[in-house]
């Protein structure tokens, strides 16, 4: 058979199938499935006997052909209401082959076009140095780039400043807990009460950090036993009572505050405190 000489030039299973169909002078619309399947399988066998690695795709199409072949043997009439429709198991295969053939044709057209175009030559770019004035520079300023760079710079700067700010706050922290405690005592004094609710210690629109630092200060005062607190229910109001003895033992408090401040600072500072 003439296809023997074409053994290794098929681009895929469809390529082979189309070749076999055309070689057998069959109409694509009326493929003799039985005959073509036999030829196809024989071809695969020949490939294998020649130790040519047959791609799995070829096998898959072989299986599909065999399936169609067996379906061709079954009655193909299907009753759809009054009408009797004849179904052809080859329909999808034909569609696929036709589609493949279109692109095969397109590939041939491209090949011709490529051949034609190989007869057309271009010339390389001239040495353009003679046309460029060495001294002239064209500055390309892109506004987007300009704004982007600047925004990046601003963001970087802002981050840096924020970082520096929080760093300096760490430095001031000792003073602030202390001043907050004085402030709390002041409130008790002004209100002339022994007991106050925690919320009474806060300004009407306190920031979150102010609430937290007030709370920490209260905890600190409790630790120093200059204050007691009571909370009846979870998340309920905290009632604070200021003890008598404070004020007289001012120096004591100061010392305690210094100890507290150690908590939030670096360890080496803490060690420094111990040494002193």
């Amino acid at each position: 058979m003439s296809y023997k000489v074409k053994l290794d030039i098929f681009e895929g299973p469809f390529d082979l199938l189309v070749y076999l169909i055309e070689n057998a002078r069959m109409s694509i619309y009326d493929i003799q499935i039985s005959e073509i399947t036999d030829q196809y399988l024989r071809y695969l066998q020949q490939m294998q006997s020649l130790n040519i690695n047959v791609a799995t795709e070829f096998m898959v199409l072989a299986a599909a052909l065999i399936e169609i072949k067996s379906k061709m043997l079954l009655p193909r009439m299907k009753k759809d209401g009054e009408e009797i429709i004849e179904e052809d198991p080859r329909t999808e295969l034909v569609q696929r082959i036709l589609e493949y053939k279109r692109f095969k044709t397109a590939a041939e057209l491209l090949e011709q076009q490529e051949e034609y175009n190989q007869k057309v030559f271009e010339k390389p770019k001239e040495d353009l140095i003679q046309f460029t004035k060495g001294t002239e520079e064209y500055l390309n300023l892109d506004l987007k780039q300009f704004v982007k760079t600047f925004n990046l710079f601003l963001r970087k700067k802002k981050n840096l400043e924020d970082m520096q700010k929080s760093y300096s706050r760490v430095e001031r922290q000792k003073v602030t807990v202390e001043s907050k405690m004085d402030h709390i005592k002041g409130i008790f004094r002004i209100k002339a009460k022994r007991r106050l609710d925690f919320k009474e210690l806060l300004a009407p629109q306190s920031s979150k950090s102010d609430v937290v630092i007030t709370f920490i200060s209260v905890l600190e005062m409790m630790r120093q036993k200059s204050m007691t607190a009571k909370q009846n229910t979870n998340f309920g109001e905290i009632t604070l009572s200021l003890k008598d003895k404070d004020g007289a033992e001012d120096t004591d408090i100061r010392k305690a505050v210094e100890e507290t401040s150690v908590i939030g600072r670096k360890k080496n500072t803490a060690e420094g405190e111990i040494v002193s």
Partner: protein, 196 residues
């Protein structure tokens, strides 16, 4: 010399020194004229060279223009020197290129399915040759890469643009869109073997 003639003459000079395809937009900017006028001048030049059967011709590639030789003279050029030729594409490369050219943007899966065989390596080769390129991603499962042809493809094959591709009988009628495909009739045999 009229302004128009002057500009056309300048465009000839530019095409000559530039060698490579010259962008109409760039050419228009040099004379501060609008794009369409510059394009028309190039087209007029192109026609002049063609009508006079000149040994130099002007070809259009995707809104750029380039001087090249008249293909009829290739024989004599080759007698004079051996110009470097681009290696011809293999059959499989041409097949894949044809599918991408006519069906773009297209995924590898669609190409594989039409050819009935995996085309990954062939596509890679075409990408390397800059004839095709990734042009985006499909919205489908796995968002597969979509391929399309490049200006290099147009140039190497002498197409002005994609509309210039030779017509293939009813090619659109045959290719059914995936979105249109109906649920398969259980009686019908599927040979979608590539999907695995």
């Amino acid at each position: 010399m009229s302004s128009k003639k002057k500009i056309k003459s300048a465009y000839e000079s530019m095409l000559f020194v530039w060698g490579e395809p010259l962008d109409v937009k760039v050419a228009a900017e040099i004379f501060n004229i609008n794009w369409k006028d510059a394009y028309d001048y190039f087209k007029e030049l192109q026609m002049e060279y063609e009508q006079e059967g000149r040994g130099i011709q002007i070809r259009e590639i995707d809104k750029t223009f380039q001087f090249c030789t008249n293909h009829e003279n290739s024989e004599y050029i080759e007698r004079l020197c051996t110009p470097v030729k681009v290696k011809k594409l293999s059959q499989s490369a041409l097949e894949v290129l044809a599918i991408i050219a006519y069906k773009q943007p297209v995924t590898r899966g669609e190409i594989d399915s039409i050819r009935g065989i995996k085309s990954e390596r062939v596509i890679e080769g075409l990408v390397k040759k800059e004839l095709v390129a990734e042009v985006g991603r499909s919205t489908g499962i796995g968002r597969p890469v979509l391929y399309g042809t490049t200006p290099v493809f147009l140039k190497n094959f002498g197409f002005k643009d994609l509309k210039d591709l030779p017509e293939i009988d009813d090619i659109e009628g045959i290719i059914h869109d995936d979105s249109e495909s109906v649920a398969p009739d259980p009686q019908q045999i599927s040979i979608d073997f590539i999907k695995s």
